[in-house]
Symmetry: C2
DNA sequence: ATCACTTGTGGGAGCGCTCCCACAGTACCT
DNA sequence: AGGTACTGTGGGAGCGCTCCCACAAGTGAT
C-alpha cells in the first residue's frame, strides 16, 4: 500500500508532515516557519528548524506552486536571436544586474530567447501556462505584441525602454534626454559652435528623447536650433555614414557631431575621414552607449554610458515588488512606475 | 463558496475537469488525450481536442509536476563564471545544439551558472528540490563534486567530456584521440619528420587522449616516439610558450608542433618567432579547437575542429532518453552510454 | 452459451503544499 | 467579574493534475 511513504527509501524526500511530526507540531506551524511568518514563538521555531535540518527537508516546489498559485520564477525574455545575445555586451551586462538583484532571493531566473517565430510560439504557450510569476522584457520593438499579451494574461512585467511617453507597463530606462544633453553641453563647452545630430530610428522612443535633449541643450546654451543640422539615422553604421555625408553637404561648416549610437558614430567617422576632416581637430564626435566600439575607435570615442547593469537590477527589483503585490497579502501600491537612471559622459580623444 | 471556480473570471484558467465536462467525457479521458495516449477512440479524441481549443485550455504545470513527479525541465549547468560563458564561443555553440534538440519537445531549458561558491550553494539547493528532471553538465573539472551529487540525488545527467576512461555518467565527447591522430598524420603527410607535442593539462582526460593519439599516429607512420618531443602544457598561452622554449632547447631540429589547444599554439608561436623560426617554413604548427584565435593568427592556424553544436544536440538527446527511462513506463535500457563524435581537421597556412 | 481477452472509459485517491477558520491561552481594559 | 483583543497553534479543505483500478462493451475462441 503505502510503499511510497516509507522513510529511508532512496530518493524519498521528507514532507512537511514528517517534519511536523518530528518537531511535535502541526503542519501549519511548519509551513509558517518555512515561509518566515512572524507569528511563531521562538521556541517552536527553533524546534522546527532543528527537525528541518535533521531530515534535510527541502520544500516541494510543485506542491507549493499548485497550492499557492505561484512559481517563484521570473523570465528574462530576449526578443532577439541568440546570436545577438552573445555578441552584444548589453545583454550580458543586463543579465549580471538581474542576477545580482535575484541573488538573495528564492526567485529563479529563466532566460528565454524569442527571436524566431517558432520560439515566439513556444513563449506564448509558456506564458499562457503561467510558468513564471513575472517577466523582464528587454529590447522590445515598438510593434511587438508581447507587452499586450502580458497585460492580457495579467502577468507582471517590467520593460526596459518604454515604448512611448505613456507606457502602460512598469518601465526602467536610462535618461536618454539627459544623456543627449550631457553630450551636447560637453561639445558646446569645448567651444564647438555648430553641433549636428545624427538621430537613431525615430520610431524608438529613446531616440526621440535624445533629439529632444539635443535641442534643449543647444537652446539653453543660447544657440538656435538649425533643423538642417539634424539628420535621421537608424542606429546602423551605414545609416551613420549616409547621414554624415548628407550633413557635410548641407552644412560643411559644422564642427561637431552627436551621434545617437556608437555604431552610428563609427559610420559618421568614415564619412568624415573620406571628406578629409580630422577628428577631433576639425570635427568633434560623440557617440552613445559607450560600447567596445567606442574604446577601440581611432581616435577613441567620447560616448554616453548607460548604466545597463543597474538597469537590470532596477528592473528586477520593480518586478519583484510587483509580483509581491499580487500575493494574497493585499496592500497594493499599484502606482504607475517609470524609473529613469542617470547616464554618464565618458570623455575620450574624439572631442 | 466556490468563488474560485467561476468561469469567466479574469485570470481564471480552465481546468481538466471543465474540459471534460464540455467534451462530455471523464477527466481521465481528457488527460489521456492531452498526453497523447493511444488508448482513446478517434471520435473521443476529436471531441476533447475541440473542447480544449474552445476553452483555450493549457495544462497547469505545477499540478502535473506534483502528481507525476516530474518538471518537464532540464538544466544546462555551467560551472564557470558568467563572463567566460559569454566570451567563449564554446558555450554559445553548445547552447545552440541543446536548443535545437529541445525545440520540438515540451522540455524547458534552464541555464544555471555555478561559478561562485554562492551560486554553487544555490545550485545544490535547486537540485535537492528536484526542480529539474535532468542535468547537462559542461566543462566539469576533475575534482568537481557535482557529478557525484547528481548520482546521489538520482538525477539523470549527461556530461560533456568524461572525467576518465570509466566515467559512470552518460557522456558525450569529441574524439580527442582521433583528432590528435588527424593532426599528426597531417603533419607527417606533409613531410615533417620531427613532430613535437605540447600537451594540455594532463589531469584532464581529453588531454591524455590527445597524447595517446599523437603517440599512436607517429608509431603507425613508422616513426618512433621520442619522449623528449613531448612537453606538458596547461592549455594556457604562457604554458604553450614555456613548453615551446623547452622543446626548442632540447630538440632544436624539430620541424613541427602539435599543440593541445589553439591558445597553447598561440603561446608556442611567440616562442618560435623569438627563436627566429618561420611558420610554416621552418616549423609547422597545428592547434586544437578551431577557435577564433586560429582564424586570426598570423599565419592562420591549422586546427582540429570539434563539433560542439552536435555535441550539445547529442547530450540533450541522451539526457531526454534517460529521463524518459525513469518514467513509470518501464523498459529501462540503462546501458552505459558513452558517445564519441568525430573531429575534423581544418587546414590553414600554418602547416 | 461460456469464458477469456482486448479496448475504451470514468472516477477515486493521492501528490505536498498553502490558506484560513477555529480555538486555546494570555493580557489588558472596563 | 466579564468583555475584547491579540498571539500562537492545529488541521480541514482544496489547488489541478496523474495513476490506476474497476468496469462496460465488443471480439473471438471454445
Amino acid at each position: 500500500m503505502a510503499s511510497h511513504g516509507v522513510r529511508g527509501r532512496s530518493g524519498g524526500r521528507p514532507t512537511l508532515e514528517e517534519v511536523a511530526a518530528r518537531a511535535g507540531v502541526g503542519r501549519g506551524t511548519v509551513s509558517r516557519v518555512i515561509n518566515g511568518s512572524p507569528r511563531v514563538s521562538e521556541a517552536t521555531r527553533a524546534a522546527v528548524e532543528a527537525a528541518v535540518a535533521e531530515l534535510g527537508y527541502v520544500p516541494n516546489t510543485a506542491a507549493r506552486a499548485l497550492a499557492a498559485n505561484r512559481t517563484d520564477a521570473i523570465a528574462l525574455v530576449v526578443p532577439e536571436p541568440e546570436t545577438r545575445f552573445f555578441t552584444e555586451p548589453y545583454f550580458s551586462d543586463m543579465l549580471r544586474g538581474v542576477g545580482a538583484a535575484l541573488s538573495d532571493t528564492e526567485m529563479q531566473l529563466l532566460l528565454i530567447f524569442a527571436g524566431s517565430d517558432r520560439e515566439r510560439q513556444r513563449l506564448a504557450q509558456y506564458l499562457a501556462a503561467h510558468r513564471v510569476d513575472g517577466v523582464l522584457l528587454v529590447s522590445v520593438h515598438a510593434d511587438d505584441p508581447l507587452p499586450d499579451m502580458l497585460s492580457q494574461l495579467e502577468i507582471p512585467a517590467v520593460i526596459s525602454g518604454p515604448r512611448s511617453a505613456d507606457e502602460t507597463l512598469t518601465s526602467v530606462d536610462s535618461d536618454n534626454y539627459g544623456g543627449a544633453r550631457q553630450a551636447v553641453e560637453h561639445l558646446v563647452s569645448r567651444g564647438r559652435r555648430t553641433v549636428a545630430h545624427i538621430t537613431g530610428r525615430l520610431d524608438v522612443y529613446g531616440a526621440q528623447r535624445r533629439v529632444d535633449g539635443y535641442r534643449d541643450a543647444l537652446r539653453e546654451a543660447g544657440h538656435q536650433v538649425d533643423e538642417l543640422l539634424i539628420e535621421p539615422g537608424d542606429f546602423s553604421e551605414g545609416g551613420g555614414r549616409r547621414a554624415m555625408e548628407a550633413l557635410l553637404e548641407r552644412r560643411p561648416d559644422l564642427d561637431a557631431v552627436f551621434a545617437a549610437s556608437d555604431v552610428t558614430a563609427a559610420g559618421a567617422r568614415q564619412a568624415l575621414r573620406e571628406a578629409g576632416r580630422r577628428i577631433p581637430d576639425d570635427v568633434a564626435l560623440v557617440g552613445y552607449d559607450d560600447s567596445a566600439i567606442a574604446r577601440h575607435m581611432e581616435p577613441p570615442l567620447t560616448s554616453v554610458r548607460q548604466p545597463i547593469e543597474e538597469m537590470g537590477r532596477a528592473m528586477t527589483d520593480l518586478l519583484l515588488r510587483e509580483v509581491a503585490d499580487r500575493r494574497p497579502s493585499a496592500t497594493r501600491e499599484l502606482e504607475r512606475r517609470q524609473m529613469v537612471l542617470a547616464t554618464e559622459l565618458v570623455e575620450r580623444a574624439s572631442s
